[in-house]
């Protein structure tokens, strides 16, 4: 699993204490006027002489490259080996005083996601990013600075949290920023949808006329009190559905997401019917395997079920949804666990930085088609993982 933030930062020269948002570059010949927004990643051979004017300089790993320390400019640092993934075009938040480095954006990745707040108005049993009741409004400010540094060619960017809509008008500003600086980038916001029950907020989103915006909203049951239980918030079901209806009234793209675990698998076919009869107009339905992060570990007894055991319900649900010609995908499952009829709905969905395979998978002939596991699955995963071998 990639470490997208680190504290292992060793200064080599005197440094400025302010926090900065900067783009990583390996190009020491960058025009002088733009260097102050860039951090130079020092790789081979440049250890001798460091060009002036960059916001900071990063060496990764051993100090072999570091010579002539006394001639170095300010703000030279050494990072640990696990930051070796950093490359040209990545955007970071650098707090030299703490010290802390957070990678906000990776140009080479297909799975960039901007965490905009850790506050949330739900409290899901299986939350992989447990809420913090703090003032983290600085995050939005950082992102507003970071977005102009991101590459225009980025295919897709996610907006996550916590609950992004808690940003209120700042979310609108953020989305507008994304529209202006990344006009061909698809934006996928993960939200519980509750704030969209407010028509005027939804209208503001619509007025943005973003080129390709989709809101991914979870519904965990066809029964309101079961959904409210899973998200631990009374009245959440009604607000979420009202939010979806409002988004559709303003012709916004909506995806329904369902995390499959012990509390949600049993009525999955009924939920599928409910979605088909009441929310047929949504653009996509994603049925997702459980991630072993955050609150999941705390509530494991109430949540864990081997995916092999809920294949009948999953198959039925997918049959219902596809009969109604809804777009359906299955995420976060391994091919050896899935009923073969579900393979065509399976997607490789796990973000690259937390995607792994188990030792059992080594000889598997379907490894490249299979989505593999979350890194966190090492905590617990199915006892039915069996590699596909040549004969199969």
């Amino acid at each position: 699993m990639m470490k997208l933030s680190t504290r292992q930062i060793t200064p080599v020269s005197e440094f400025d204490k302010q926090i900065s948002i900067a783009r990583i570059t390996e190009n020491a010949e960058l025009p002088a006027p733009v260097r102050s927004k860039h951090i130079l990643l020092v790789k081979t051979g440049n250890g001798n002489h460091l060009a002036e004017g960059f916001k900071a300089y990063f060496f990764i790993g051993s100090n072999e490259l570091i010579v002539n320390k006394s001639k170095y400019p300010k703000n030279v640092f050494v990072l640990s080996d696990d930051q070796a993934y950093l490359g040209e075009g990545d955007v970071v938040r650098f707090a030299p005083d703490k010290p802390a480095l957070t990678t906000l954006y990776r140009k080479q990745s297909q799975h960039n996601s901007l965490l905009v707040t850790e506050r949330c108005n739900n409290f899901c049993l299986m939350c992989s990013q447990p809420p913090k009741e703090i003032d983290d409004s600085y995050i939005v400010n950082d992102l507003m600075e970071a977005i102009p540094l991101m590459d225009r060619g980025t295919a897709e960017i996610g907006i996550t949290g916590g609950e992004p809509t808690l940003l209120g008008d700042n979310l609108i500003l953020l989305l507008r920023n994304l529209k202006n600086y990344l006009p061909s980038t698809v934006v996928h916001v993960l939200s519980n949808g509750r704030r969209f029950s407010n028509m005027s907020f939804t209208e503001k989103i619509a007025k943005l006329e973003h080129q390709d915006l989709m809101i991914g909203i979870p519904i965990y049951s066809d029964i309101s009190n079961i959904h409210d239980y899973v998200v631990q918030a009374d009245g959440a079901f009604d607000e979420t559905i009202q939010g979806i209806i409002n988004l559709k009234r303003f012709q916004q793209k909506v995806e329904i997401r369902v995390v499959l675990h012990k509390q949600t698998y049993d009525r999955l076919p009924q939920l599928a019917e409910f979605l088909a009869r009441n929310l047929l107009f949504v653009d996509h339905v994603a049925l997702m395997g459980l991630e072993m992060m955050g609150f999941t570990r705390h509530n494991l007894d109430d949540l864990w079920i081997d995916p092999v055991e809920y294949q009948p319900q999953l198959l039925k649900a997918v049959e219902i949804l596809s009969r109604y010609r809804m777009n359906v995908s299955v995420y976060n499952h391994q091919l050896c666990l899935l009923d073969k009829r579900l393979w065509l709905y399976n997607r490789k969905s796990i973000s690259d930085w937390k995607n792994e395979y188990m030792t059992e998978c080594t000889p598997c002939t379907k490894k490249t088609e299979c989505g593999g596991f979350f890194s966190s699955a090492h905590l617990k995963y199915s006892s039915h993982i069996v590699p596909f071998l040549e004969e199969n």
Partner: protein, 114 residues
């Protein structure tokens, strides 16, 4: 069949069946609606005997045997019970139904948001 417990069924001389309904339990409107639904199986004439009692006089076409008559009478009684239940449901849900239809035909939301 439990439904005939509180209504007696008698055969009269001309081959028709007489069914007694307790009006403290069944509404006249329910009995009338059931009679309407059974028009192809039998002809139903209603006679109110007292405040609490109504007699339904079921007459059949000539080629109906005794067994078939009993079956029709039982089904008729079941229909009275069903009609009674239908009236209860309709009454209880009338306001909600009007709300739903009004909303269906309007442009505003039922759940008011700012």
């Amino acid at each position: 069949m439990s439904q005939t417990e509180d209504s007696g069924v008698r055969t009269s001389d001309d081959g028709s069946l007489l069914v007694l309904f307790d009006l403290r339990i069944y509404k006249i409107s329910a009995i009338k609606k059931a009679a309407y639904k059974f028009a192809s199986d039998c002809s139903v004439l209603l006679k109110q005997l007292s405040v609490d009692q109504l007699e339904a006089h079921l007459s059949f076409s000539d080629n109906t045997d005794a067994c078939a008559k009993k079956i029709i009478a039982r089904a008729f009684c079941n229909e009275v019970i069903d009609q009674d239940l239908r009236e209860q449901i309709a009454q209880e849900t009338e306001a909600t139904r009007n709300l739903i239809l009004a909303q269906a035909f309007s442009k505003t939301s039922l759940l008011t948001q700012e």
